[in-house]
């Protein structure tokens, strides 16, 4: 089975509402939980583009619909709006895996799930 599909199955086990492109070039987690009281939303759509060179190339960035603000109504750190995808405006969080070491077994080493978990950590624990 395609390596990307295997890794997307790992995400499907974690997130019930997951939309996946037919060509596996992107996915959207429909109700990604945000830390309560930290942003002006409790959940958000989360979009990630899977590059054609993945998993040899590390995943990079994730996007949320435009308008995300911190509880104090400021623009989150390392976040920039102005992206248009699928008829919707998105903002992009600059987020990179510091080390990227996928293994032969997709469940070992780094994969799309570990990347999204690192994004989750950034949203919950990083600078808002």
């Amino acid at each position: 089975m395609d390596r990307r599909r295997q890794e997307l199955q790992l995400l499907e086990q974690q997130f019930v509402k997951l939309s996946i492109a037919d060509d596996l070039s992107w996915f959207i987690i429909e109700a990604f939980p945000l830390p309560p009281g930290r942003y002006n939303r409790d959940t958000t759509r989360l979009l990630h583009f899977i590059g054609p060179g993945y998993p040899q190339t590390p995943p990079d960035n994730f996007l949320v619909p435009s308008g995300l603000r911190t509880a104090s109504n400021v623009i989150p750190a390392s976040y920039q709006e102005g992206q248009n995808h699928f008829g919707q405006q998105w903002g992009v969080f600059s987020w990179h895996a510091k080390v990227w070491a996928p293994a032969l077994d997709h469940q070992q080493g780094d994969n799309l799930l570990t990347f999204i978990m690192s994004a989750n950590k950034r949203l919950w624990e990083g600078e808002p």
Binding site: M1, R3, D23, S25, G51, G53, Q56, D60, S94
Partner: protein, 458 residues
């Protein structure tokens, strides 16, 4: 439909060693294989992995060797797990002339193909090979037809070296023209150079020199891929480029074809004036036996590296660069990396900046973000480049090409040239233990769907 079978030199050595381990009793192995559907309804089968079978998966009785039911299930499961087709090979050690399947083999084919297509994925295939002392015969079944296709040629990947072909076309070369070269390469080596189809991606500073040099060396079949047109700033190094070409904004592939044909009017030169990331370019690369990567970006390197592994095409990549600060050169030199499928790749050699490749391959909107943040260069400021450095790197690359194709010596797999110190350093690399390209993509051909991945939205 016609069919041929390709495997790497290393795979052939491993297989031969097993098959020839007995001159009296039959030997058996299973090849997990991908395929490449080519023009003219030809399919090339590509070896992904070899499973050597010994007792107890085999029963050797009066009718020859037979695989036990457990052994059959094991080989089907291996193919299903790898997502590949399956080819079994056994020997007839007594066959001195042209080897053929026995009546027992043929009866077995009916049963095993039925079982195989009940287990393997719908678009899969099953092949059967028999090896004699000096010949090979093979049949291929696909789910689309119950009538098998004869596998007519067995070749070593990228070398023009034939293991066995039922009707091999002779390759002739002008002995007077190449008399001094034959001293190094041998007659057979020169014939192989004349028989391989070479794909060159990037016909700029290094690619244009590689193309002309190969034409002088005796290559007669080319695929040239580059979407770019010549600019006046290329005239310091684009081999064959003229002011007239600049005036007419000629495509670099057209200039390269013209220069090749000046040297070798009989050469077959296919040009693809498109980006590598197009279906036309992928189809053209699939027709080549060996590839040269002469571009200056990591996305192309990453893609060609994976293509090389999946389609078992040896790949020679080169790069050169000069870094100057305040008018002073701080670093200058180049690299030539020889990728032999299955023996380590550009990623194992650390010769690709995967993060940069990721930025280069990102959707345009996200690439812009990376440019703004300074992760990737967005402007087309010409980098310093000189012809003598490019010629050095191209010459090393062509010498390694001859080593791969003719075997006049073992190829040096990674060469670094430091222009400032004038030193050439070979650097060793092996297959990375977690390299997905070497372990997972090898020989899987069309199954990797590289065209779909890399060419979509481009």
């Amino acid at each position: 439909m016609t069919a041929s079978f390709v495997l790497t030199d290393q795979q052939w050595s491993e297989l031969q060693c097993h098959l020839r381990s007995s001159m009296t009793s039959e030997r058996f192995a299973v090849l997990l294989a991908g395929c490449c559907h080519e023009r003219n309804n030809h399919v090339t089968l590509l070896c992904h992995k070899i499973l050597l079978y010994n007792d107890p998966a085999l029963v050797d009785d009066a009718f020859g060797i037979q695989v036990t039911p457990t052994g059959i299930v094991e080989m089907m499961n291996s193919a299903i797990k790898a997502g590949t087709g399956l080819i079994e090979i056994h020997t007839h050690p007594g066959a001195k002339g042209k080897v053929s399947f026995s009546a027992v083999d043929s009866a077995g084919h009916n049963e095993i193909t039925k079982f195989a297509f009940s287990c393997l994925p719908e678009d899969s295939f099953y092949g059967s090979l028999v090896a004699g002392q000096r010949s090979l015969s093979g049949l291929l079944w696909t789910s689309a037809s119950s009538v098998p296709v004869v596998i007519s040629a067995f070749r070593i990947a990228g070398t023009g070296k034939s293991i066995y072909e039922s009707a091999k076309k002779p390759v002739h070369f002008d002995e007077n023209r190449y008399t001094r070269q034959v001293h190094l390469l041998g007659k057979e080596g020169q014939e192989r150079i004349g028989s391989v189809r070479v794909g060159i991606v990037g016909l700029g500073g290094t690619g244009s020199i590689v193309a002309r040099t190969l034409a002088y060396e005796g290559v007669r079949s080319f695929v040239l891929i580059d979407h770019d047109r010549i600019a006046v700033s290329n005239l310091n190094r684009l081999d064959g480029g003229t002011r007239w070409d600049v005036r007419f904004r000629r495509r670099k592939v057209r200039i390269a074809r013209r220069e090749i044909l000046r040297i070798a009017p009989d050469a077959d030169v296919q040009i693809v004036p498109k980006s590598l990331f197009t279906m036309q370019a992928f189809r053209a690369m699939a027709d080549a036996d060996i590839l040269f990567g002469c571009t200056d970006n990591d996305a192309t390197r990453l893609c060609m590296n994976e293509f090389s592994a999946a389609y078992l095409k040896p790949y020679i990549d080169m790069g050169s660069g000069i870094i100057a600060e305040s008018g002073r050169v701080t670093e200058a030199g180049g690299r030539v990396t020889v990728v032999l499928p299955g023996q380590g790749c550009m990623l194992c050699a650390n010769a690709v900046n995967t993060r940069m490749a990721g930025h280069e391959l990102a959707p345009p909107e996200l690439r812009e973000v990376a440019v703004k943040r300074g992760y990737v260069s967005g402007s087309d400021i010409p980098a310093p480049s000189v012809m003598s450095l490019n010629q050095t790197m191209a010459s090393i690359a062509v010498t390694e090409f001859k080593a791969v194709v003719t075997g006049f010596r073992a190829p040096v797999r990674n060469v670094l040239y430091d222009l400032l110190s004038g030193t050439v350093t070979p650097v060793r690399y092996d297959v990375g233990p977690n390299c997905l390209v070497c372990h997972s993509s090898l020989g899987k051909g069309d199954l990797m769907k590289l065209q779909t991945r890399y060419c979509n939205n481009r």
